[in-house]
Amino acid sequence: MTTTDDFILSMKDISKSFPGVDALEGVNFSLKRGEIHGLVGENGAGKSTLIKVLTGVEHPDIGTIELDGKLIQVRSPQHSQEIGISTVYQEVNLCTNISVAENIMLGYEPHRFGSIDWKKLNALAKNALKRLDIDIDVTQPLGNYPVATQQMVAIARSLEITSAKILILDEPTSSLDVNEANQLFDRMRKLKSEGIGIIFITHFLDQVYQVSDRITVLRNGKLVGTYDTASLPRVELIAKMLGRSITDLDEVSKAKFTGEQKEGKKCLLEAKGLGRAGSIDPFDMQLFANEVVGVAGLLGSGRTEIANLLFGVDTPDTGTLTLNEQKVDHFSPLESLENGIALCPEDRKAEGIVGDLTIRENIILALQARYGYFKYLRTQEQYEIAEKYIQLLGISTPSPDQLVKNLSGGNQQKVILARWLATNPQVLILDEPTKGIDVGAKAEIQKLVLDLAEEGKSCIFISSELEEVLRTSHRVVVLRDRKKVAEYPGDVDDQTIIQTMAGTL
């Protein structure tokens, strides 16, 4: 058993904020000698920021880092390597066209009479790999070996050149098959027995359970807790990742949508066997007026894929989509816009905002797209529309002529919402509308969604936060592994959904 003295790393009260978003808030993290420590959380939980702070890519606003009991400041990624923290990233960033040995020793080549001592270089590289029980011809180009081996080479390099005390593996298994992953885990256990502390970041929960000793869960930049793997049931882990704790969102309430009401309602959207190979398996879905349908599922379960398919960003290869009793046969965002569907995409920065344009221009963009080229809104009308939504959604800005890139995340999200509300859609698809924005703005957006439903629109609400989905939705669709696996009424308890998501129900 390890004792408390065995902490090799302890990070205390780490906070880091970027403009408009608190990426980390008072996070504590500790790593024991000879431990494999799983770091989990949904997108935007703060995993990568925490790693960036540890490897010197980012500098914390407050908080301290102790390595081997000594207070340190990590100045740069290079500095972190010098003090014994090495990182292997998700994508192997080695050169496939040069030899394995060169890759391992790049920048640290042994010299003899002013030129590279190739014999020694190859021997050193061979040794480094031996430590991981790998015996390959190190003079072959790296590209000749499978990705799994390349991954090992990356690990060997990071161990060889730094005499690492801490090894950070960021999603190392995302491109490995089961056997290869198992090989990696064997090596990880071996390194662990040598006293190296390993931080293992992954979204495959199976693997966390397979290999890690302890698990730290982050959510929305905050520490949820650190747990012994053996004493944390899987269902509980998922619950912790998704967050069920009741926060200050209590003013959001919803009128429950009963079965009888549904009978008389108009079906606005109906998907029958709609699917796209490699994206999402065929699914059925109905959406009625005045209704919010939540979509729950873990990262990579097909949440965004459903949104893209319904909005026409992707074209389905099976099934039909009916809107207002009319079959959709041409899929494109413009077509959807004309049919009264709107999508607030998940990736706000890449797919949502047009940063260098003003708030006014961003808000009228979709409406203008609907009006076409020659029915250009007069400047006066543009300002009226922009002012109306700035007021309605409470976008905090001095003027509609402010550039959108200068707004905070929450306000940017509201601008995108305004862009779509201005087109007066019947169906609004919201993909992670509250991602990366503060609690107050979150509550406002949830409330807005319910208000919209009351006005007769209907919404599809996609979120990685289960609590939020349950709070706003009249029905909940659950996805797992790119499949729709269940549909529950809105008053379902969260345990049922979590177990459905985990596949244990």
Partner: protein, 360 residues
């Protein structure tokens, strides 16, 4: 009122037109000091003449190309083929004017006769049509073929001059047809016709980008093409339009240029115009990455390039040293526009301003 003054100065300094105007003023001040005759405008045979008129007349084709290029660059693209399109358009005109067209019997008398079998409107239509088709081709490669703009337009840049030579049968074709000379050499109310053409095209472009939604869509595509697509705008059609329009502009420039020099030369018509047009747009302050643009600033950019060129002629700089001189202009412009220099200048001006305020 006093408080308004620095704010107004700041607004002027942050205006898009500020730096191009400063550059133009600097060149003109240099002229005023060292070449007093530069500003002299006389009247000869009922038209204006003088260095300033030369500047306008010479820069007309470049202004036209710069207008088209501005829209292309605003979408985050670039059109390298405009020079070649100018040559194609010029070649089309020359070949249709050629009275030997369709005639089996060719004599020198026919070739140098001031007549043509083709009506003028058809010649103009063929010129503009050829250029617009070239633009459409570029637009298809970029928007539908998803080829990088630089590579896509490079194809026509290389091939275009060959096409122009095919049209003129590999000859430098001299044009003998007085009505055609009107575009490059004519005058209306004493002012060169080419300036009227620029004004008309500028107004057309301005109307398209400011009075329809195309301008907004162009800027939106330039800033974030993906988000624009998600907003229901066909970024493909927007791109198709700007390249087509750019080809159209280059075709008009080809018409004026061939009319000006009375000939069509596949190798030399519009040579280096792509680079000058890009330079004009950059001087005008439109970012190569796309986004916000100003047509007027680009036209100013073209004017700056030619004012500078004519100034060099006035100073007696030999023609073969001209390119070296232009290189200096490019260097100065790029330095002026770098963030670093601007920050430095802004800080400098603000400090001066606040010191002024303190003494009040």
């Amino acid at each position: 009122m006093k408080n308004n003054k620095p704010a107004l100065l700041k607004r002027i300094r942050e205006s898009r037109l500020f730096w191009p105007l400063v550059a133009l003023a600097l060149i003109l001040i240099t002229d005023a000091i060292f070449a007093p005759g530069f500003f002299k405008i006389g009247i000869l045979n009922g038209h204006l003449y003088g260095n300033l008129i030369d500047v306008f007349n010479n820069s007309a084709p470049l202004m036209l190309v710069a207008i088209g290029m501005t829209l292309v660059i605003a979408t985050g693209g670039v059109d390298l083929s405009v020079g070649a399109v100018i040559a194609i358009s010029a070649a089309m005109g020359a070949v249709l004017i050629n009275p030997a067209l369709g005639n089996k019997l060719i004599t020198n008398d026919i070739l140098t006769a001031d007549t043509t079998n083709t009506p003028l409107w058809l010649i103009i239509l063929a010129d503009l049509g050829a250029g617009t088709l070239c633009g459409l081709w570029n637009g298809f490669l970029v928007s539908r073929g998803k080829i990088q703009p630089m590579v896509a337009t490079l194809i026509l840049m290389v091939a275009g001059r060959g096409i122009a030579q095919l049209i003129t049968n590999g000859q430098i074709m001299t044009i003998y047809y007085t009505p055609y000379f009107y575009f490059g050499n004519g005058y209306i109310l004493g002012i060169p016709v080419s300036i009227y053409i620029v004004a008309i095209v500028f107004l057309l472009a301005w109307f398209l980008v400011r009075k329809t939604s195309i301008g907004l869509f162009i800027e939106s595509v330039g800033v974030n093409a993906k988000a624009t697509y998600y907003s229901g705008i066909s970024e493909k059609n927007v791109k198709l339009f700007v390249y087509t329009f750019c080809g159209f502009c280059a075709a008009i420039a080809g018409l004026i240029l061939s009319s000006y020099v009375h000939s069509a030369d596949g190798n030399n018509n519009g040579l280096n115009y792509e680079l000058d047009a890009i330079l004009a747009v950059v001087i005008g302050g439109t970012l190569m990455a796309g986004g916000r643009f100003s047509l007027f600033a680009s036209v100013l950019g073209a004017l700056i390039i030619w004012t500078f060129t004519i100034t060099m002629y006035t100073f007696g700089v030999p023609a073969n040293a001209l390119l070296a001189g232009r290189a200096v202009l490019v260097l100065v412009v790029i330095l002026l526009y770098s963030d670093y220099t601007r920050r430095f200048l802004n800080r400098f001006l603000e400090r001066r301003g606040s010191r002024h305020g303190a003494t009040n």
